[in-house]
Symmetry: C2
Subunit: 140 residues, 2 copies
C-alpha cells in the first residue's frame, strides 16, 4: 500500500474561529467550506476542520477529549521564522504551549495550541528538506 | 506561508506494537527508528510514532488523553479495498471503531483505532485524486 495519509481532520467548535486562526495565523486559504467543515488543500494531503459533534458522529465516538496525544508540525526555514509564525498564530487566537527553544536533537521549535487545543509544533530542522510544493523529506 | 504540514506525531506506548500495526497492517516501512521514535516517510510529510511520555515532555503537556478529537484518513481506490485494509489493520492489532458503510456525502468508509487508540478512517472517495507519489487532491 502507498505510504500515504489523505486527510487530517480536526474536531473544532467554531468554524469562523478556526478559519481566522488558519487564515490569519498561517495564511492558508480553504479549498472548500460549508456550515460544518473547512477543507484546506495541503502538501499532498488535505486538512479538515470539522465541527466536533459531526466528527464524533461520523466516527461513532462521542465526547472525545479536545487535545489528544499527538501533534502536528509546520516546519519553516529559520529560527527567526519559528518566532514570527508563533507570534502570528497567537495574534490569530492561538496559545503558546511551549515557548521556542532548542531541543537536544538539534534545530529550534515551540508549540502553539489552536483555538480548539490541537497542538502545532513550529520548527526549524535544517536536516529535513521542503521542496517548492511543500513536500517534506525526512533527513538526519 | 506554504500550506504545508511537515509531521504528524502520534504518542504511543510500545514502539514494537506500533511497528507491527503500521508495518503489517498498512505495509509501511520506517525510514528511521531508535529506542523512542519511529519515522515513516509519507506522501510529502512524515509520520512519527513517539513514546507518549517523550512526546508529552517535548510538548510540555503531561498526561494527554490517548485519543483526541481528530482522525487521520488513508484513502484507497475501491470499496473492496476499504474492507481489505480494515481486515489487515485488525489482524495487525487494530480495533474497528465503526464498520465500513456509505456516508450521506458519498463514498465508503470505516474507522479503525490503532493500538494506542488513534483513529484512522479508511475511505474510498472517487472525487479525490491520488497520484503515483500518493499526493492527494481535494475534489467535489
Amino acid at each position: 500500500m502507498q505510504q500515504q495519509i489523505s486527510i487530517i481532520t480536526l474536531g473544532v467548535a467554531d468554524l469562523a474561529r478556526s478559519k481566522r486562526f488558519y487564515g490569519e495565523g498561517f495564511g492558508w486559504s480553504p479549498a472548500f467550506e460549508n456550515e460544518e467543515i473547512l477543507f484546506f488543500q495541503m502538501n499532498g494531503l488535505v486538512l479538515g476542520c470539522f465541527l466536533k459533534p459531526s466528527l464524533e458522529a461520523d466516527m461513532g465516538r462521542p465526547l472525545l477529549a479536545a487535545a489528544g496525544a499527538y501533534s502536528l508540525a509546520h516546519n519553516v526555514q529559520s529560527e527567526a521564522a519559528v518566532l514570527a509564525v508563533m507570534d502570528r498564530l497567537v495574534q490569530a487566537g492561538g496559545r503558546v504551549v511551549r515557548p521556542a527553544d532548542a531541543p537536544f536533537h538539534g534545530g529550534f521549535r515551540g508549540y502553539v495550541a489552536d483555538p480548539d487545543d490541537h497542538a502545532w509544533e513550529i520548527a526549524f530542522n535544517p536536516a529535513w528538506t521542503i521542496d517548492a510544493q511543500g513536500h517534506v523529506t525526512f533527513g538526519i
